[in-house]
Amino acid sequence: MIPVLQRDLALAVKGGGGFGLGLAFFLIIVVLVPFGVGPQSELLSRIAPGILWVGALLSCLLSLDRIFQLDFEDGSLDLLATSPLPLETLALAKAAAHWLTTGLPLTLAAPILGLLLSLPTSAVFWLVLTLAIGTPALSLIGAFGAALTVGLKRGGLLLSILVLPLYIPTLIFGAEVVRRGADGLATATPLLFLGGITAGALAILPFATAAAVRINLR
């Protein structure tokens, strides 16, 4: 798993990789929303948790089709599938590499971007915590969608349609925790749901992803 992870990270950082893409998109969304909504900081701070979570989710979506497509096109997916590496491990490594290059930078950038939306300081901790817990699920679900659509020319649209409904629970519980945290309410229930989704995705989806890759290579 480690060699694939290191290779994908190296490829993402080098030229033509998708490293900055998600982060730049996140930045654009968060910068544009205050212009669209107008200078009412009270309104902004109320919608900030939702905007930040939707922005993070869409940024994740942007780089999903690269997870398997590039390896499929240059033939390395065939070679990886016949290598000693189990496809399940490959799926996990791919999702981990996607999270490290997309979800993790988003999580780290979120507190700074929260300032732009006048996110209450009491909510910053919850925002970072929920993104840290929730974005791995986005990468795992995304890798599954990418595996289903690998080999399709311009499968990006289908991928978005397949993946977005699966992202909704993470979005609902993630944004709910931040909203409750901002208002000083109890956050345990949505936080547990959020963690449960990620844990479930981690347990199940690498196997589903591997099965989808196997079928698409036939």
């Binding site: 480690i2 060699p3 694939v4 290779r7 190296a10 490829l11 080098k14 030229g15 033509g16 990789g17 240059d74 033939g75 390395s76 065939d78 070679l79 990886l80 599938a81 016949t82 290598s83 000693p84 590496l85 290579l217 036939r218």
Partner: protein, 208 residues
């Protein structure tokens, strides 16, 4: 150990391409697959490598013993030749890349990004990966494409060395590699007679 195939049927997509494939290749032997375009050479090799499950018949070998090399080189353009080789060496748990690089005269290219290699150099890099796999069965799909005569010779030497170590090679190619002991199999004789099964009502129509 070798490789033994009996009454094998292979599908690509959901179309049956080959049926009734029978052959034995003992240890230290090579089998050259011949056949016109579309005869099913790639389909057969993908089946033997475990990428496609057989539609019928039996394979005796473990697909984990197969090193597969496809039409595509499977190289990452942004990584150097050395990084590409080291990646596969780590995946296959083999140590040094120097012998593999030497066998295909790649030592001067190790630090060059793969995107700046010529087609023949990329091909040599892709073939060098085979010697890193330490797997006894090589399934090679048109391995000599874009190689010059000298490098075809080097490739044949690598196959000979592999066979001398008890390995087996199945090679789909149209050129003469100069492997004295290799047998040649024309796979067009195994082409499936129609794109259907006996349960398919359209089979009669297809045959008539």
């Amino acid at each position: 150990m070798g490789i033994s195939v009996s009454n094998l049927a292979c599908e690509r997509g959901s179309t049956r391409i080959l049926e009734g494939v029978d052959f034995d290749v003992p240890d230290g032997q090579a089998l050259i697959l011949r056949g016109p375009n579309g005869a099913g050479k790639t389909t057969l090799l993908r089946c033997l490598a475990g990428l496609t499950p057989p539609a019928g018949g039996t394979l005796t070998h473990d697909t984990d013993d197969v090193a597969y090399a496809a039409h595509a080189d499977g190289l990452k353009a942004q990584l150097t030749a050395g990084e590409n080789l080291r990646f596969w060496a780590r995946v296959y748990g083999s140590g040094d890349i120097a012998p593999a690089a030497d066998a295909f005269r790649l030592h001067d290219l190790v630090d060059r990004p793969a995107q700046y290699l010529s087609a023949g150099q990329k091909r040599r890099l892709a073939l060098a990966r085979l010697t890193l796999t330490n797997r006894p069965i090589w399934c090679l799909d048109e391995p000599t494409v874009s190689l010059d005569a000298q490098n075809v010779g080097r490739f044949a030497d690598a196959v000979r060395a592999h066979m001398a170590g008890g390995g087996v090679a199945l090679i789909a190619t149209h050129i003469d590699l100069g492997l004295d002991t290799a047998r040649v199999l024309d796979i067009s004789q195994f082409t499936a007679s129609a794109d259907g099964t006996e349960h398919d009502p359209f089979l009669d129509e297809a045959l008539s």
